[in-house]
Subunit: 426 residues, 2 copies
């Protein structure tokens, strides 16, 4: 059997070169349709495979029994890497063009396959902890140039530490959830005291996140070369940011209200196994990191990323930035090793954001802050529309995919529309 | 019936003026003994009342049915303030000196009362999110003086914002859990690059924390005057801190590895109802806060606090600091209002730390950093022992109580012993 044949599915839409969800992908998510309770599914072409139905039919590995009739992926993820692998193999086999089991069983197929168009997608994991890193050298440099010292834009610790901070897990939402513009304290340059009001510099940040697949013990660091056991999969992530609130609040304990009002992730968790063909050489790091951060595996991933903006009243989202995840300076394995080197434990379902992903050219920046130089050079969009920062009604759409030979391993998209700030006396 | 009579229990140890757990307290916790599964209990004198047993016996409010045979308090807390009040009243009645129901039922009493000395105490709540504030003006000033500008120690945002940051919930542990000294990056003044190794400036921070009792909706701020519905109770909190790691990592995104290796809380959650007699006038705030932070209720609490240190090989812990929670500049109601004003949601079980509680005099500082001026003026302890920062084997014990007329509403203690750092190549 040729590679091409073995990667064809009897679900025709999965064989389209443009689909994000071919047989080689098989990302996990949580969905519901009609009045059904949310359950675990796998995206393939324009369909979702209801794994709780396949489980009931006895078609999945015994170890996964009962874990898919659940509103989150956590129980499945906690089964560990050998089970992830076995389940993926089984699903690939069941959905392959020449496997009749499901293909030729009309009644079972009817129950197990759900059109994606009619399904509701939910937050795929319960997130016990959310950490956000800051691992793009270009982004850190751009920000430092604007807000700190243009001549020493990169802080001295940045090349030594995969800088990260604790995020707020409660406000992580799934793609499609509208985001309410936050109110907060804003310090205007000519005023002695801050004013209170709606954020005037609302921004997105293009990021990716990884989902932790294994608990670690408190006090026991995870070594950089153990990372593969701890990385279940990846999502797109929009780290909505209120720049004016952030600038006033962030010294000395870091961003808080500027980031806690909402973080959006894409609904499909693409497994590290599906991304395996897109591993690339690590970025060059100079100076060579301290020993606990040195990696021998290839931990960079070639993932194309795109941000599009649909201004209020516009019909479609217009691409405004394009970059690649491969550009990140610190890898996920290094982030995890650093996170736990103090003894801090991680848990199944933890979300770890990459930090804003910016490339070297202005059209590859991952935030409006960088694209418009803090609002000073507004983007010019179709129909004479200009944007320094986001306006109410604007929608941000991020997409990501790995480009294979004739197929894509896609992440789908993460989108969110901006709602007006609530009116409160401040 | 006089006040004194109505506050006596048939459990004699609860009537001792020195106990932390008289009939007026009734704090909730989670315990186990023997091979039993963890369940919810209430501390009274030197006993724990097993609420799952009282529930089975039909002695508790119907709304609480089934919530106490659980390893965490979250389900009970989620029932809301009217149920907290009803349950507290029912328990106070059952344990009052003149109520025969439990007092005279030997078989039931035998099953429901557990000696605290033989019980194991567990983390009382599942903590979906942990936020740490920075609300002592004296502490913020002391730290600013040492690490930033001695002449402008308080940053300009401090008097406007109840500054806080997201903490790491996974590593919150219950009192008695040993704390492993973290390894991490340390930047020595004369070296071009950081070294890797065990923290040399390990410290505690004396804090209190409150436990959130009600979910709020994403996008909907909790007003300062709604706080009472959202505050379930309080605990003692030790925010262990690695000062050398912190100093190198914290700019610009705040403390991370310096704090994520462990945070200890006391096992008994003292309810806001029990603390009601100890409400005090709010601290004077100048400038007057922005309207969303203005409070009409009395939101300060008179809670005596003490830190004791048992150096390795010493027999007992020696008091090294004494202060009062009332000294805090920002109140819990203001912290909650600020946390949610951006639209960030809170969840039942969220833990919110006060920040280090320091008074105005050197013997009232809440950390070794302040007590020893960054290790430069070591504490002199019994037997000629000196301490700049914590050494392996040292145990830190924090205690807290409200002093009533002839009784105490106590928090018990939060303690932890320092274990050596793991040996890892760094």
């Amino acid at each position: 059997m040729t590679q091409a044949q073995s990667s064809r599915s009897w679900i025709e839409s999965a064989n389209d070169a443009a689909t994000h969800f071919p047989l080689q992908n098989l990302p996990y998510g949580v969905f519901s349709h009609g009045s059904q309770a949310p359950r675990v599914g796998v995206a393939i072409g324009d369909r979702i495979v209801d794994l709780s139905v396949l489980d009931e039919a006895g078609l999945l590995p015994a170890a996964t029994r009962g874990t898919f009739a659940a509103p989150v992926l956590n129980r499945f993820i906690a089964l560990g890497r050998p089970v992830w692998r076995e389940t993926r193999q089984r699903l690939a086999e069941l959905l392959a063009a020449d496997t009749p089991t499901l293909r030729d069983d009309a009644a079972l197929r009817e129950r197990a396959l759900v059109p994606m168009a009619g399904a509701r997608l939910h937050l795929p994991v319960e997130i016990p902890g959310y950490t956000d890193f800051y691992s793009s050298k270009e982004h850190a440099t751009n920000v430092g140039r604007m807000f700190r010292d243009p001549d020493n834009a990169l802080l001295p610790n940045w090349l030594e530490i995969p800088i990260g901070y604790n995020g707020r897990a409660s406000s992580v939402v799934v793609s499609g959830t509208p985001i309410r513009r936050p109110n907060g304290q804003i310090k205007l340059p000519n005023e002695a005291r801050p004013i209170f009001g709606a954020c005037r510099k609302l921004d997105y940040e293009l990021e990716m996140g990884f989902i932790v697949g294994k608990d670690s013990a408190l006090g026991v660091p995870v070594r950089v070369d153990q990372a593969d056991d701890y990385l279940f999969g990846m999502v797109l992530l929009n780290d909505w940011s209120a720049r004016d609130i952030q600038q006033w609040e962030y010294v000395p304990l870091g961003p808080f209200n500027a980031k806690t009002f909402g973080t959006s992730i894409s609904p499909w968790v693409v497994t590290m196994e599906a991304l395996e063909p897109f591993r690339r050489d690590n970025p060059e790091q100079s100076p060579e990191p301290l020993p606990y951060l040195r990696q021998s595996a290839r931990n960079a991933y070639d993932i194309e990323l795109e941000v599009a903006l649909r201004p209020q009243d516009a019909e479609r989202a217009e691409p405004i930035s394009r970059t690649n995840f491969r550009a990140m300076y610190w890898t996920m394995a290094q982030q995890l090793a650093h996170h736990t080197v103090s003894g801090c434990n991680v848990r199944v379902g933890d979300l770890m954001g990459s930090g804003t992903i910016s490339g070297t050219t202005p059209d590859s920046y991952g935030s409006l802050l960088e694209l418009t130089r803090n609002g000073n050079e507004p983007l010019k969009l179709a129909g004479g529309v200009e944007r320094g920062f986001l306006q109410d009604g604007d929608e941000v759409v991020m997409r990501g995919w790995c480009q294979g030979d004739g197929y894509r391993i896609g992440f789908g998209e993460v989108s969110g529309e901006v709602l007006p700030a609530p009116k409160i006396e401040g």
